[in-house]
């Protein structure tokens, strides 16, 4: 039962990296180089000979029955089978020999923060990389909390890898700045290139895509997900080679440019391996119909525009349901931009097979929604707008007993909008969908009772993200803060790794988090807490914390200082509109040389010189970056 991970594009975490081995203790200042906790990035040990630890010295041959190179060969053969990066990180720390062999056999590299190290460090350590996952900007940049042109450029990475890894096959980028030139270099430098995945990226356009389409003859995957792609008015679909392609997945729903449909039809026709196709809204329903008839082997479909363009013609409308009926293999459905709800019943034939359904761009009322969801017994992943109301959520709870992931987005994403979903929907889901693992829920009203109920009914929860849109909103029935609800979540959901809190929260909520949130890796806080103690509870109590993002909360210098023992073991800390001073940030930067402390924001205003608008700090092996723009001060 593999879920289609490409659906979970927005905020998916590296779920696979749930390390069972304890993080390395870096409290001792004697160890100069920072080591990651084995779960987030590859561990680093300085390669100069006299700094190795726990080493079976290669000099003492008398204590070893076999010569080193034989051992290394054996190791190589064994380590080939190690896929998980946690395991590989651990293996690399056994001794220098293991380090060497692991480095030479690692083919997939994950870099959670592109500024944690330089591209040359990557290529110096790992010699045979065929796949790179690289993440750039911090998540809060998505919400306009960071000026554009902050960085996260792909350019230095692609140019370094072009020379070092000519056999590179896969690049998966998230929140990176990628230019058309970068794409051109990629297309030219890697003849065997197979997979390009760009999630929440920007800086390129259809001309860059055209080059990739044209030059990467072995391309299997071209997934553009929630990226900003400029319309260079290039017919990129026509740039794919004329002969049969290897394409397995093509996702371009975020490309805001018209598509040459004839070329697309031809491409689909000559792509026998194509399983996943996500169209943009410039593909009409009529055109979709034709595509479906020609591609019944699809397993994942993102529809284009689900409406009729012109006034309905006098000719008969195509039988959309028949086209969907022909797609017996479709298990994942998304799109539905520009939805005309009267056409929705066309998807009935595939509902029973669906494991993943994304209605999050479609304003569907409960009446239109209920008949559809009542057929979706196998659904595991469901994204929708709150327009389906509590009533719709109740229908989901009645039918979707296999639900693992739920995301409810606001149709009207403003603080004081109406809010058609509430604790009623959450309670229903908790009672009906016991296997729930991940939830993102936007609402305007919530109660502690419903959140507690979810904590008790859904023990498998690993991700709990509740966004009560009105700031500082208490439990709307009792008037109390939401402390008890979130406290129950960290206490009862023993597998919880990701938490986002909202509503009126006192320090008590954070006390609970520090006491019970032992596996929490990612924490998002906004407009919450009363004092420094709140942040201290978390920094002192959550040993697995990797990513901490906080905005508009009353946490100051004392709290920040209290976490110094943790920062080398974390991927990043983001704090904006809190109560930090520049002086304190400077102190921390001085005390922790491998931490890059970025202060972002205007310090033109002399009165506010000491006030830190945004702090973004992260560990780095290669010191502060050289491409920081003017508005970033690296302390």
């Amino acid at each position: 039962m593999t879920r289609d991970r490409s659906e979970m594009s927005e905020d998916d975490d590296d779920q696979q990296s749930q390390s069972q081995s304890p993080p390395l203790d870096l409290r001792s200042a004697a160890i100069a180089e920072p080591c990651s906790s084995s779960s987030s990035s590859f561990s680093v040990v300085d390669s100069t000979p006299n700094k190795s630890r726990n080493c079976i010295s290669s000099g003492t041959l008398t204590s070893q029955p076999f010569p080193d190179h034989v051992l290394e060969n054996v190791l190589e053969n064994v380590l080939q089978f190690l896929d998980s990066r946690c395991d590989r990180n651990a293996a690399s720390l056994v001794c220098k020999s293991w380090w060497r062999v692991e480095a030479s056999t690692r083919s997939e590299v994950f870099i959670g923060n592109c500024y944690a190290l330089s591209p040359s460090r990557l290529t110096q350590r790992f010699k045979r990389v065929s796949s790179l996952v690289l993440k750039g900007k911090p998540r809060f940049a998505d919400f306009n909390l960071m000026p554009p042109d902050w960085g996260a450029n792909f350019a230095p990475w692609v140019s370094t890898m072009a020379k070092a890894y000519p056999w590179l096959e896969k690049v998966d980028l998230k929140r990176m700045f990628v230019t058309d030139d970068d794409l051109a270099l990629l297309a030219e430098s890697f003849p065997g290139f197979k997979e390009l995945i760009l999630v929440c990226c920007e800086g390129f356009g259809t001309s860059g895509i055209a080059i990739v389409a044209n030059k990467c003859r072995k391309l299997k995957v071209l997934d553009l997900i929630e990226s900003e792609v400029t319309d260079d008015e290039v017919d990129w679909i026509s740039c794919f080679p004329e002969d049969v392609t290897c394409l397995e997945s093509l996702a371009f729903d975020c490309v805001e440019a018209p598509i040459n449909f004839k070329a697309l039809e031809g491409l689909v026709a000559r792509s026998p391996c194509l399983k996943k196709l996500r169209l943009n809204r410039f593909v009409s329903l009529v055109e979709l119909h034709r595509l479906l008839l020609g591609a019944p082997q699809l397993t994942s479909l993102g529809t284009g525009s689900f409406s009729h363009d012109e006034e309905p013609q006098s000719e008969q409308e195509p039988d959309y349901a028949a086209a969907f009926r022909a797609c017996k293999s479709v298990v994942c459905l998304s799109g539905f931009r520009e939805l005309m709800p009267e056409y929705l019943p066309a998807i009935y034939p595939v509902c029973a097979n669906l494991t993943s359904l994304n209605f999050s761009y479609a304003n569907i009322s409960p009446d239109m929604f209920k008949p559809i969801i009542h057929n979706c017994h196998k659904l595991q992943v469901f994204w929708a707008l709150d327009s389906i109301c509590d009533e719709g959520l109740q229908a989901v709870a009645e039918t979707c007993k296999e639900l693992r992931e739920l995301r409810i987005f606001p149709f009207d994403p403003r603080e004081d909008s109406e809010g058609p979903v509430s604790e009623v929907g959450l309670q229903a889901i908790s009672e009906g969908c016991r296997k729930l693992e991940s939830i993102l829920y936007f609402c305007q009203r919530m109660t502690n009772a419903a959140v507690i109920a979810m904590s008790e009914n859904c023990p498998e929860l690993t991700v709990f993200r509740l966004c009560i849109m009105g700031r500082h909103r208490p439990d709307h029935v009792t008037g109390k803060p939401m402390d008890e609800g979130f406290g129950a979540i960290v206490k009862n959901c023993k597998k919880l790794t990701r938490l986002a809190v909202s509503g009126l929260l006192t320090d008590q909520a954070f006390r609970y988090m520090g006491e019970y949130g032992k596996l929490v890796r990612t924490l998002s806080v906004a407009f919450a807490g009363d004092s420094d103690m709140a942040l201290r509870h978390v920094l002192e109590g959550c040993p697995r914390l990797q990513k901490l993002e906080i905005r508009d909360s009353p946490f100051g210098d004392a709290a920040l200082r209290s976490g110094m023992h943790r920062y080398y073991n974390m991927r990043f800390v983001w704090m904006s509109a809190c109560s930090l001073t520049r002086g304190c940030c400077k102190d921390i930067a001085r005390a922790m040389p491998n931490l890059v402390v970025e202060v972002i924001g205007s310090d033109d205003d002399d009165d506010n010189r000491d006030y830190v608008e945004t702090l973004y700090m992260y560990r780095s092996l290669d010191g502060p970056r050289k491409d920081a723009p003017k508005f970033v001060a690296i302390l």
């Binding site: 809060f140 761009y361 304003n363 987005f409 149709f411 936007f442 906004a526 407009f527």
Partner: protein, 191 residues
């Protein structure tokens, strides 16, 4: 129960009814990026401003100033939530209208409320479709070009762009069409 929630509403303050001082303060702080760089940070703030200003023309109660980046929904998602497509009403706020030009192969979409007035709109159209629109005369319509910019309003009538006040245009236009040739001349000679 509800008392707790509504306490703020009955609070005696010096501010205007409906404004929230805390909120404004925070907005100043959180909006500082709008001053630094006027690229992407601005449109969302502008969006919010337009929303709150168009709201003022209706009789609904004044709304809270919006905080930057809150609620945390990506702009990509915000921009792509389409309103229900129905033949009757056409919701204007933040939605796009189709623009077609006779002879051009593809439709484009624009959001008229993004522009401050007709000249900005027409300039944008000229760039988008690579044509020039000629000069607008109140009586005679557009002169000096084969192309005439028109739009379809709520009642289904095709009007010349520029004939009604800008605000009315933004509220009533359903789609745009840049006509060419003889059809254009028909509309161009006085409405």
């Amino acid at each position: 129960m509800d008392e707790f929630v509504n306490l703020k509403e009955t609070e005696l303050r010096l501010g205007l009814p409906g404004t929230d001082n805390v909120c404004e303060e925070k907005e100043v702080v959180s909006c500082c990026y709008n001053n630094i760089s006027n690229k992407r940070a601005l449109p969302s703030a502008l969006e919010n401003e337009i929303e709150s200003s168009t709201r003022k023309t209706e009789t609904s109660p004044p709304r809270k100033a919006q905080i930057v980046g809150w609620p945390p929904v990506r702009s990509y998602r915000k921009n792509n939530i389409q309103t229900k497509k129905s033949e009757s009403d056409h919701e204007v706020q933040g939605s796009y209208v189709k623009v077609s030009m006779d002879g051009a192969p593809y439709l484009r979409k624009i959001d008229p409320s993004c522009y401050k007035g007709y000249s900005e709109l027409l300039k944008a159209l000229e760039v988008m479709f690579k044509f020039s629109v000629g000069e607008y005369f109140e009586r005679e319509g557009y002169k000096g070009s084969d192309f005439v910019p028109t739009y379809e309003d709520k009642d289904g009538d095709w009007m010349l762009i520029g004939d009604v006040p800008w605000e009315m245009f933004v509220c009533t236009c359903k789609r745009l069409r840049i006509m060419k040739g003889s059809e254009a001349r028909g509309l161009g000679c006085g409405v």
